[in-house]
Symmetry: C2
Subunit: 304 residues, 2 copies
Amino acid sequence: MIRYRHVALIGLGLIASSIAHAIRRTGEPVRITGYARTAGTRAEAARLGIAEIRDSAAEAVAGADLVILCVPVGAMGDVAEAVAPHLAPGATLSDVGSVKGAVIAAVGPHVPEGVHFIPGHPLAGTEHSGPGAGFASLFDNRWCLLTPPPDVDPAALADLSAFWTALGARVDVMEPDHHDTVLAVTSHVPHLIAYTMVGVAEHLRRVTEQEVINYSAAGFRDFTRIAASDPTMWRDVFLANKEATLDVLGRFTEELFALQRAIRLGDGPHLHDYFTRTRAIRRGIIEAGQDTAAPDFGRAAAKD
Amino acid sequence: MIRYRHVALIGLGLIASSIAHAIRRTGEPVRITGYARTAGTRAEAARLGIAEIRDSAAEAVAGADLVILCVPVGAMGDVAEAVAPHLAPGATLSDVGSVKGAVIAAVGPHVPEGVHFIPGHPLAGTEHSGPGAGFASLFDNRWCLLTPPPDVDPAALADLSAFWTALGARVDVMEPDHHDTVLAVTSHVPHLIAYTMVGVAEHLRRVTEQEVINYSAAGFRDFTRIAASDPTMWRDVFLANKEATLDVLGRFTEELFALQRAIRLGDGPHLHDYFTRTRAIRRGIIEAGQDTAAPDFGRAAAKD
């Protein structure tokens, strides 16, 4: 059940538009206002009926009991500064940024007395972006991680948890630093690696682009899907989660060099042992309901 | 149209069983015999009706006009040696190995006079293995690359091309060395990187396994799917395609270090430019029909 009666969305991309669609799917009488910096985005969101579009962030948040900042991590501080004086007393301010430490540092100082600041991160997305990319089921069965301050008001936290549950998500609460480490492993570094691999392919002169494209077997094709994600969002993620990203990258390079050495030396048992162990984590993910065992590999389209 | 009347499959895993299903789907009167080294695999294949199962590779190939070696790359030489004396004159010998130079070196010397040796590689697979993992549509719209010797008999090559086309695949012909470089970029190194990333996650003590599993956002989840592929097959691929794999890995590490440096120095424009360029290759793959633009990310299961 949604306890808010007016939700304001600042930024109107994939996540914000999906929030709007998911709120509407609940059938509850929630007013949705919104603002995006770019006039074209505002016009598209208005045309799609995502929200009541306002001409400024200040106007969009006026009277809202929940304000969600849905902009790239690097823009959170400026947006928070712009909306802070216009937040209603007792309102909750949240966000959907992929990094929590940097967002708390950028937004926290602007939050006025009497407003509950509860940062959040729905672990959901696609490689598409913009108001037209959103859909109501994006958060179904996905986790939304909340990283409230130690002195958070329990009622405000319960309301925000109930909100994300109503949108289909599963909610968990954790420390911001721990969140940033977990996400560096499960999302940030994998994205960086996928970007890198696609960049390597682009540069290889012996392999023409058409061949890379035509013969993209499962491995590379999955990488390109990841590497097609929004460049601005990801630039900000890496700059904002620098410490954890560099730490995990260091461990990754160590492991990769060990495997590279095994290949160079022809050490088959080392490779076989390593590849056998990684299968277990995959089984865990399927059992946890975060993916399907179906051997689709994007095959649905091939059958069309 | 399939011009063979008797196809022998040596090895009865995912690819061989999919070939059998796909042959049957054509409705043509093709006899299929098969052999696998492990008794359990032979029993399972017999129970599933994949093929007429024989007790030796020699018996399985007797009288066949097409013999396809469907074993890991490292086993090709031994299997070729075992079947060579029993191949019918005029028969075609092929394989499905992911590396072509090493397979040609291992199999070539055993091929008797009068047998057409035409190596092949269908670019299709899933992370599952064994006779029960096969399905008839595995090759639909996928490429099958053939790497025949320069003096190949044109009629034999045409027959094998027609065979794969009848199974749903698109056929292309290329030099073995070129094949191995293209596949190092589009498949082998991406798999190695996925294995590495999943291994890193397993070792990170600050992140419990359950958290890695629960919070596997799109990036890591796609990696674990790739990293769940058959360990024996992949060990052999890296050992057999050592030179191209190490070459592409070197380029990958260079690129990764450049991005790592940009993160450390806070160079946002470098990151944004890089991430923008990788989007173009993704668009090319969708346009080439090798994947779908649908934002599924394994979401089908989540809706169940």
